[in-house]
């Protein structure tokens, strides 16, 4: 018997609207209730039909060719061959007994050696922890020195007043440790990005710099770059259009070679 509450949850599930604990509880109910599973399947099918309410548009003809060209023949799944259980059963029993005897013997030996290896593992882990701690403090010292040195250089500059300095904050989980400072010279229309601990990316991707100027509808492209393994980059950049007011700087993750308009995830942003 399906209750009204279960119907409600099934309908929300069909539209992907259940989250968190509500979703987990409902999926637990589903595993135990085949009638409810049937309702969920049929509601999901009905919900999918809603797709046809969208105004119908033909895709471009080239899309089919593109898809067919990209479709690589999948590796066929191996056929499952029925194993003749009755024929091999006596051999299987004998093999199992032999294996059990070997296992008991080896168990005794392995329990003794396990204690020793656990102690060794613990010592290794403690050493690795200390090394990691030292490395971390060294790295933050380097970063502090870098920021401090950049600040000193900027303070010495006679044109300091006209420069815009911006620290970019991380927006994506994998760039939490990244330290990025953008310096922008509006007269020269050039900038400098100093970065540390920017995560490396795959060869078919680039980081792309964007300058947000309220005079333009879209952010202005500042060029692409790739990071070395240690994530350290000092990069001069020049936008591809004149920038009247650099309101903010952003770095996004884009396909290799960059894009004209930001498409990928914005990983760093600073005003």
């Amino acid at each position: 018997m399906i209750t009204e509450r279960q119907e409600e949850l099934a309908a929300l599930h069909a539209f992907g609207l259940l989250e968190g604990e509500e979703l987990r509880d409902f999926e637990a109910q589903l595993t135990a209730d085949s009638e409810l599973r049937g309702l969920v399947l049929s509601l999901a099918e009905t919900a999918a039909l809603t797709a046809l309410a969208a105004p119908q548009i033909n895709p471009p003809p080239a899309l089919k060719e593109r898809i067919l060209a990209l479709a690589v023949t999948p590796v066929p799944e191996n056929k499952i061959v029925q194993f003749p259980v009755a024929r091999f059963a006596p051999w299987a029993v004998a093999a199992a007994l032999a294996l059990a005897a070997i296992w008991q013997g080896s168990q005794n030996f392995s329990l003794r050696s396990e204690n020793v290896s656990l102690r060794t593992e613990r010592q290794l882990a403690e050493t690795a922890y200390k090394i990691a701690q030292n490395q971390l403090s060294e790295r933050s010292l380097v970063a502090e020195n870098m920021i401090s040195s950049l600040g000193n250089k900027l303070r010495k500059s006679e044109d300091l007043a006209r420069l815009k300095v911006s620290a970019l904050a991380s927006l994506a989980g994998n760039t939490k440790e990244a330290q990025v400072i953008a310096v922008w010279d509006p007269e020269q229309q050039t900038g400098l990005l100093a970065m540390e601990k920017l995560p490396p990316i795959s060869d078919n991707q680039d980081y792309q710099i964007w300058i947000v100027d309220p005079a333009y509808k879209n952010p202005v492209n500042g060029g692409v770059f790739h990071v070395s393994a240690d994530g350290k980059v000092a990069l001069p950049f020049k936008p591809d259009q004149p920038v009247a007011q650099a309101a903010a700087f952003a770095i996004s993750l884009e396909k290799k070679g960059g894009v004209q308009k930001a498409e990928g995830t914005i990983v760093l942003l600073g005003k």
Partner: protein, 215 residues
């Protein structure tokens, strides 16, 4: 109006009688079986079957992706990804889990909604710095050369949606196409969450009564 429907609300019994003859389940079963056969052929590496499945489903899937994402290039990317995923996973398709169309539509919708959410996050971030960065909406390139099959089914779905009360229709539309959460839908419609849940339940159950489950 969110769907292309304008039919007034009618009594449930009348709705069922009026709608079902337009949406022949035997034709639907035939199409569904044909698509399942194509998937079986694709599982064996038959690329021409992929081409035929594309001919059958690309228009509704592209339309769905465009309806959600409102961008031609991104809709093409989504449809491409979906067909390639179906090609790779054809051998895992199980007819007891639903129709091929249902599977493909769900994949398309999920990918489009993921992109909408990612884009929304990016636009919000950029809007904090420059408020005029919102992309202008694009208009679709409508084509009248739809296959008869899809056109009939689309008409039947729109008719069935047209039989729903307007508040149910609106709730279903937001639930399917917007990528909003339950709470966001309730906020957008300025209604209590319980009311929205009830509307989605009643609306979807009524659609289920009206439409056959398989195309």
């Amino acid at each position: 109006m969110l769907f292309a429907v304008s039919s007034p609300r009618r009594e449930p019994e009348r709705v069922a009688r009026m709608t079902k003859p337009d949406f022949s389940s035997s034709v639907g079963d035939e199409q569904s079986q044909e698509q399942a056969r194509l998937l079986a052929a694709m599982a064996k590496g038959d690329k021409s079957a992929l081409g035929r499945l594309y001919d059958s489903l690309s228009r509704p899937l592209y339309s769905l992706a465009f309806r959600i994402i409102n961008d031609n290039a991104e809709a093409q990317d989504i449809v491409q990804d979906v067909f390639l995923q179906i090609w790779q996973k054809a051998s895992t398709y199980d007819t007891s889990r639903g129709s091929v169309f249902g599977w493909a539509a769900t994949l398309t919708r999920n990918r489009a909604i993921d992109r909408v959410r990612m884009r929304k996050r990016r636009t919000e971030l950029l809007a904090e710095s420059a408020p005029d960065l919102q992309p202008a909406p694009l208009s679709g390139d409508l084509d009248s050369g739809a296959s008869m099959w899809i056109r009939e089914k689309a008409t039947a779905v729109r008719n069935a949606l047209g039989q729903l009360a307007p508040d149910q229709q609106k709730a279903i539309e937001l639930a399917f196409f917007s990528g909003l959460t339950q709470l966001q839908i309730a906020d957008k419609l300025n209604e209590p969450l319980g009311t929205i849940k009830a509307r989605i339940r009643r609306g979807l159950l009524k659609l289920k009564e009206t439409l056959p489950t398989r195309l």
